[in-house]
Amino acid sequence: MSSNSFAYNEQSGGGEATELGQEATSTISPSGAFGLFSSDMKKNEDLKQMLESNKDSAKLDAMKRIVGMIAKGKNASELFPAVVKNVASKNIEIKKLVYVYLVRYAEEQQDLALLSISTFQRALKDPNQLIRASALRVLSSIRVPIIVPIMMLAIKEASADLSPYVRKNAAHAIQKLYSLDPEQKEMLIEIIEKLLKDKSTLVAGSVVMAFEEVCPDRIDLIHKNYRKLCNLLVDVEEWGQVVIIHMLTRYARTQFVSPWKEGDGLEDNEKDFYDSDEEQKEKADKRKRPYTMDPDHRLLIRNTKPLLQSRNAAVVMAVAQLYWHIAPKSEAGIISKSLVRLLRSNREVQYIVLQNIATMSIQRKGMFEPYLKSFYVRSTDPTMIKILKLEILTNLANEANISTLLREFQTYVKSQDKQFAAATIQTIGRCATSITEVSDTCLNGLVCLLSNRDEIVVAESVVVIKKLLQMQPIQHGEIIKHMAKLLDSITVPVARASILWLIGENCERVPKIAPDVLRKTAKSFTSEDDLVKLQILNLGAKLYLTNSKQTKLLTQYILNLGKYDQNYDIRDRTRFIRQLIVPNEKSGALSKYAKKIFLAQKPAPLLESPFKDRDHFQLGTLSHTLNTKATGYLELSNWPEVAPDPSVRNVEVIELAKEWTPAGKAKKENPDEKFYSESEEEEDSSESSSDSESASGSESGEDEEEDHSGDSGEDSGESGSESEAGKGRAAKHAKARGKGDSKDVDKEKENSKSSESSSGESSSIEESSSDSESESESESESESRTITKAKEKKTKQDRNPLTKDVSLLDLDDFNPVSSPVVLPTPALSPSLIADLEGLNLSATSSVISVSTPVFVPGKTHVLLHRMSGKGLAAHYFFPRQPCIFGDKMVSVQITLNNTTDQKIENIHVGGKKLPMGMQMHVFNPIESLEPAGSITVSVGIDFCDSTQTASFQLCTKDDCFSVNIQPPVGELLLPVAMSEKDFKKEQGLQLKLCTVGH
């Protein structure tokens, strides 16, 4: 093979070289004719063969090698056809690796990539939410413009998916589609608008990210979701928090009026640095008219505070910048502690945080003054960190701490890190100018440094002294003389230039030295740096004007040298100076004023912090770090003079509630701001125990509004039903505990004895954690009784995580939309049914006559997937027929399929785990089910008019599988026909009942 290809290479190589070159450049894949790639070619050949083999292990091996190639940046695009065939592979790992490959190369091989699309489209309909999500993820990552409509459709569908995880992925897909085809913006904004209303913490971060990317200017979309986002914030994952906080900062700056006292900015500059913020606030309060903060503004500030405690530096920084930009100045102080904490982190985090602190410390010194020592430099810090710390120390310097700081600086100046030592000298110079009390001390210190051994230190000192002397027009003849002497030893151009300038400027004060210096430098003129040459020219000119007797010839000599210099700047300058100072017949009026021009009083340079101008960038952004506007940077607007209408943020509960509660029920709900959070809480507590506490904690603010919100939360039918269910469970729990055998009780006692915390607390916690799922609860009950049994169950449960997912989902997942209901919307909310539990529906109203369903959906639900059921698959659907086993029961038809190639024997229902009051009528055991055979059985379940899950075990001869049936609300209802009048009457009755119930 190799010899073959070699021969081929030689042959073609000897042929038409030009054509070859073209071929090599025109195709992306390495052409076989190119000798260098021949070995690659061969390798790829065997990869192809492996991919086409029917053994998974070979395919996997091949895919692994291909991924290795991609990782190294090698081109593997020519394998595309072979790889794409495996997109439908059963093996998850192969599939994943194929996805990796597809996403990488689809852009280059658009036509072939289309082959894979149908697989994803199919997967988008998969009953498993994770498969739907990953299909959407890959589909949207394939950057092929042709499939834009397909993607659009998929995103639209996914954004209405029941699973929040799929919706999260839809939010991600929005950004991908937008970058592929910005034309779709309008449609995408609609989807974003819809997703922004989502209440799931999973979705919030991703959709805000999409919002920022696609339509950051559509601030109007945020209004209605503002309060919800604020309340959800604590529970959102950390990355989402960062994005949301940044967005809300911008939002707040457009919607609220400034909480900063007028003239605060001025005050900052005028007043003494060391006034604490508290004092400042008091002063301001006396003078200014009272300012009342918008409660929404306060909400944001309050709800972000706990996040300062996050372990994620990015979150802490995001909160810090939020406080900096939108909180009242007196409250911003709390961020400094957290920021200082971040300084213990990695060098990169330190770098960014120090930069931001540097900007802050210029404007509000008081904030970081207590932490002065945290910015002391260690010899092991990297130079860039040292310099930033130094910058902050300079900003924080004041009369009170300057002596300590100067002592600290003394150590720094001696540092082995010369760049840092030089920066320290600069710093001393800045301190000297800003704090007049110490300027003499600083100057003396700097002069001492002039005798330092290190040239860089001396040079830097010279430059700084020059600046200082320029600022203080006092007599410093001695220092100048000393510096003139240094000229012999110093070689650093900037320093030499500085000395020359200084002597020139003060040439009348050192009349004896100046001409001598000129003489010396004239001698070395040709070998000097350009910078120094210019200053020699200047010095010459100044001396010529003041002391022409001694220096006329020297200056002319220098001017002649300059005339023929290689650098045109110097030649220009020479010509200019000559015309100006040397009187000749042509010289104009200007030369009369030459002395005034050259020896004018020059303004002293201002020693400023390099961070001074950074504050116009939002803190914590890339733009701030780079000090230039980065692509996509969104300006932080100034506070509006007058706040825009705050009522836009009011959420109209009624309108929203319609989705959840039947129209007739939406009554006195006041448009309360806490609506979302409350219902979210309900969801939380039903979903899992962990967050319920923190969420409720975050809500239990001091506000009075809380009280109303409690009401409204209960009122909305959805959450009401849930709390009902929760109560039921709790009751059951308590009962079950009571029943528990004595051993159990003993244990319990022991526990409570050993725990110091009150028993009431402990039980409440236990309850909250076990409330989460009825299934897990009953399991833990049984676990304590018999370990072996529990183990058995556990394994079963492990094998069947899918079914468990269902109960983990958000509540809105089983809202009626889930089944394709064409029937008129149900007349009763589940909570009402619960309220009316005592009343027998059919008995109470003679007017109600049960009718046959107009429409029976053919949709089946997966009860047991064949993968998890070892080949036994089960599906169920609700036939909507009156149940033959009892009138309270809902009939469910289960279709069992045998997908194995052996008989499955003795299929029956094993242990049932039903919540309180629920009943189930099981089907008769099936003796055997032939391979590929299927059988339909029907069971009846009394769900007690709740949407609780009925869990039971589906057993075969060898195995047991835990399965759950959870009815959509719609399936619990009895189809009835009644006249409008009767309906109204019923409604009135129920409303009355309802109010009594509350």
Binding site: A71, K337, I352, S769
Partner: protein, 418 residues
Amino acid sequence: MIHSLFLINCSGDIFLEKHWKSVVSQSVCDYFFEAQEKAADVENVPPVISTPHHYLISIYRDKLFFVSVIQTEVPPLFVIEFLHRVADTFQDYFGECSEAAIKDNVVIVYELLEEMLDNGFPLATESNILKELIKPPTILRSVVNSITGSSNVGDTLPTGQLSNIPWRRAGVKYTNNEAYFDVVEEIDAIIDKSGSTVFAEIQGVIDACIKLSGMPDLSLSFMNPRLLDDVSFHPCIRFKRWESERVLSFIPPDGNFRLISYRVSSQNLVAIPVYVKHSISFKENSSCGRFDITIGPKQNMGKTIEAITVTVHMPKVVLNMNLTPTQGSYTFDPVTKVLTWDVGKITPQKLPSLKGLVNLQSGAPKPEENPSLNIQFKIQQLAISGLKVNRLDMYGEKYKPFKGVKYVTKAGKFQVRT
């Protein structure tokens, strides 16, 4: 957000690249190399670099550069924090975050990166979820995999990602239920020439190793919670509970994790457990100097100070050192000019010292400043701040876990100026 990631080793080879959006050519790294050259020292490569079309944000970890390519405005800390999380994950999976480990496990690395970011936005960064999705490699598993052809991609679906407790995986089962907490405190200090403390504070962490079945709900309380001045929490901790009762209440992730980190403010007096007597001098115009340091215990609360190491970055003009330690051993690297003295334990009867001569480059001026000494030590069974765990209670599960708390005090950035 994050466009691409390049992993670069110390010699400047790009050995791994991953793109989440369109492919960005490797040549973008040239800007990085340029900056690296300019910085001279790896520590000084700026973390954020601006190039004509992209922005490069990089971190340096374990002799590797993680260089990410950014195209639009993003909070730089967001990227930095994420890159560190990636490095942490590698560390967690492969035991070390080195070029060799990454190259050996390139497929797993790729799968991980694929799961961690979607379109450049973090998707799953919790190690518990990732481990459910992609099983970490073990020798046993790789053998089994090669025989059975099974894969290391989990076939169970990561339920954690869907729940409100994303940090904990479902169905955890242990035969021995254990919960261990390590209270580790580090003393950061700068001691000046005369031995007085310029700056000192305590940085503490509580690392937990939790191996408990089911969904345990733990609460950890302290004898003296007021000590904790500034705390940062793992997301599992209920903030409100801490605010109101000063109790750490949480459902823990499975395995090892950092529960909290805290700072005990510098306002409180920090006990400094060791002192150093030093006399380092370089003679003018002669090519030698004297070096003499002695270490002794101070405020050590009656505990032994162990594992003492002294590291000194000597000035460049130092050629060699001839020293005699009374205890332990020392090394001097003439290239990096780093002197390391491994002391070991301090016995108060006989204080360890290191004495001898320093050879300087002849003719060179004597060093301006004496080098500062970096000291490492360890004290077992002591939290220098005095923090004490009161009790650990577990709710939600019935079994009795084995509980343990360990205290260690270490030197953090402990520097003595001479």
